[in-house]
């Protein structure tokens, strides 16, 4: 689940050139990460040190920018709350929809199972712009524009194919013998579900939820097009820095750090699950 799992398959033993390759790997890792580090550093500077032609690497850190980004009137909390509600909400709704569907497909497969599953996966490949206009118009006439409910449902639709797929694959990992043993032991379908299958699939369900949460949190397209203020998420909030306020670099950085930090950290723990979920089982 965490980074250590990925470390197990050994490559060739590092030889003489090994040290150079190790250094190179580290150098690339740090370079890739550097923009993120740079935002964090900038967020800890004063506006004057942040906004200078010669970057400063050594400075006395201040939390002033965070304070002003989090202050009343900055609106951060409003957007953050919307992000939390829509991301968490869509994850829970998605799990509630995906678990029964995946259960039926994994344990009571029929001829149509494969077709249904592939159909669900294929809806993931419809580009969002392909449905943008009708969704916008229907939402407008139903009063769902700029509502948390409307946005949550869109996030759910966006993640549902991945979630059904992942939960299905975790259910399929449970040996069918164990399910049969439960039925011989006298468990009903419901008892099997709650006393055997769900406890066994719990880690898998958790990682499915984690991935859905990350994807929903980072979603920008629907937030930018379907919300204005009321249901606007942190994506909209940070996008508002794209002009004018963009000159306050320390504050911009602080807002960015507050937006990405929780998800980047969660992402560190979800590397494996991401592969499983985003490649639909093509890579194991």
């Amino acid at each position: 689940m965490t980074a250590s799992n990925v470390d197990q398959a050994p490559g060739r033993k590092s030889g003489a050139g090994g040290t150079a390759l190790t250094l190179l790997a580290w150098l690339i890792g740090i370079t890739m990460f550097f923009p993120i580090l740079w935002v964090v550093l900038t967020a800890l500077k004063t506006e004057q040190t942040a906004f200078s032609m010669t970057p400063t690497f050594i400075f006395s850190p201040t939390l002033e920018s965070f304070r002003s980004a989090l202050a009343q009137g900055s609106g951060y909390w409003h957007y953050a709350l919307n992000s939390v509600i829509t991301a968490l909400g869509s994850t829970l709704v998605g799990l509630a929809l995906a678990i029964p569907a995946a259960y039926a497909m994994a344990f009571y497969p029929s001829r149509r199972t494969d077709f249904t599953l592939v159909w669900m996966v294929s809806t993931k490949f419809i580009p969002a712009v392909g449905v943008l206009i009708p969704v916008f118009l229907v939402y407008r006439s139903l009063g769902l524009l700029d509502t948390r409910l409307g946005l949550t449902m869109l996030f759910t639709a966006m993640n549902l194919p991945i979630m059904v797929w992942m939960v299905y694959s975790y259910f399929r990992d449970i040996p069918v013998d164990i399910v049969e043993a439960a039925s011989i032991d006298g468990a009903s379908t419901t008892q099997t579900m709650f006393r055997v299958i769900l406890p066994l699939a719990l880690p898998g369900l958790a990682s499915t939820g984690l991935l859905a949460l990350i994807l929903a949190w980072n979603e920008s397209f629907w937030s930018l097009t379907m919300t204005d203020y009321h249901a606007a998420t942190l994506a909209v909030y940070t996008a508002s820095f794209k002009s004018g306020e963009g000159l306050f670099w320390a504050r911009l950085s602080a807002a960015s750090v507050l937006t990405i930090a929780p998800i980047v950290v969660l992402g560190w723990f979800a590397q494996r699950q991401m592969v499983r979920g985003l490649t639909f089982g093509a890579v194991k």
Binding site: E180, A181, A182, S183, I184, D185, G186, S188, Q191, L200
Partner: protein, 383 residues
């Protein structure tokens, strides 16, 4: 305790392109069997012969597409597995990984809302019988293969079911442990007297454990009989070859008057065998079956009941030595003494007792001259 009856039971799979009906692996046709109360029945056969499918139909995990399955007279064909009062030991053990050994064993009783003290008593009893009392708090992943096997048995034991089903329960154990558990399961059965079905592909397991053995092939029963009868009076060439290690040797022979003649041997027929074979004109050829243990090393001499060939393989097993001898197209295996004093390339002369020879029809592979044997006819009655 229960009597299990299977009447014309069949499992047919929807036609898969390129395969028809009973040709499908794991399919079953015309399965008829009635157990005695408390009997230990072994289903044996090569993989895909339908033995596991048959057991899964008794369990209710597969639906029989035809026929009736009765437990104590009640047709359970449409009864769910959980209402059949059976317990099953799976090849993979199928222990619940998230439950301790105790809860694995107690699960079925808890589902039936058995009082806590009763559950505890029964789990402890079963654990004591199986010598796993010290493991009750562990999770399955912290157990060795042998221990898991015992827990799987314990889970079935605790239920005190009408019928035990065991699906190749020993095949994941190493050879030594397998022999040990074989005896233990037999002992357990004798102690509890519960009707038991046991599926295996290993004929040694079948012979050592079964009170009655059902030999299956391609979804059909070949023979239902006691171990002794299977060995001594196999009804066809398949059963003859399947039961006994090393396998029976088969040689083609020409029927000439009162003798059988093959490549490099001849053998005179007993009166009984002559009757079985019938007229030489009607059945000019047949299969001659001789078990390796019925071949003896003799000094070079030809005559009736002699085989002669060059030794190709020698396998010393300690108490006996197996020698494979080339007789025409066939490699014949003979079981010789501990120190036969032979070498590869030697010519070996083997003698056999015509009374221990089995005869089979050349086309149908059916045994000739077995039908009159008394025990075989009783098998026919139950089959």
């Amino acid at each position: 305790m229960a009597i299990v009856e299977l009447k014309d039971v069949a499992k047919r799979y929807d036609s898969v392109p390129g395969k028809k009906g009973a040709e499908h692996a794991n399919a079953v046709e015309d399965f008829n069997l009635t157990t005695k109360d408390g009997e230990f029945v072994v289903l044996v056969g090569p993989s895909g012969c339908g033995k596991s499918t048959t057991m899964r139909m008794i369990a209710g995990l597969e639906h029989n597409t035809a026929g009736e399955i009765r437990i104590n007279g009640q047709d359970v064909s449409d009864v769910e597995p959980r209402d059949r009062d059976i317990a099953m030991v799976f090849q993979s053990y199928a222990l619940y990984p998230h439950m301790s050994v105790y809860h694995n064993m107690a699960f079925a009783l808890e589902l039936k809302k058995t009082p806590k003290e009763e559950v505890k008593k029964r789990v402890q009893e079963a654990a004591k019988i199986l010598d796993i009392e010290h493991l009750l708090d562990r999770k399955p992943r912290a157990l060795s293969g042998g221990q898991r096997q015992r827990v799987a048995l314990g889970r079935a034991l605790v239920r005190q079911p009408q019928v035990f089903l065991m699906d190749e329960p020993l095949s994941n154990l190493d050879a030594r442990l397998r022999v040990e558990m074989r005896a233990e399961i037999t002992r357990l059965h004798r102690r509890l007297g519960v009707t038991t079905f046991y599926v295996t592909h290993d004929q040694t397991e079948a012979m050592t454990m079964g009170q009655r053995i059902v030999v299956m092939r391609d979804g059909r029963i070949q023979q239902i009989d006691t171990p002794y009868n299977l060995y001594e009076r196999p009804v066809n060439r398949f059963v003859a070859g399947f039961i006994g290690t090393p396998s029976m040797n088969f040689l083609q022979a020409d029927h000439q008057g009162e003798t059988l003649k093959g490549e490099g041997f001849s053998c005179s027929l007993s009166a009984h065998q002559r009757t079985a074979l019938g007229d030489a004109g009607q059945r000019p050829r047949c299969w001659l079956g001789i078990r390796p243990e019925h071949l003896h090393q003799v000094g070079a001499s030809s005559g009736s009941g002699r085989l002669e060939g060059v030794i190709e393989v020698i396998e010393p097993l300690g108490p006996v030595t197996m020698a494979q001898v080339r007789i025409g197209e066939t490699l014949v295996t003979a079981q010789l003494g501990a120190h036969p004093g032979i070498q590869i390339g030697d010519t070996l002369t083997l003698a056999f007792d015509p009374d221990h020879v089995h005869l089979f029809d050349i086309d149908s592979d059916e045994a000739l001259g077995v039908a009159e044997a008394p025990s075989a006819s009783s098998a026919q009655a139950t089959a």
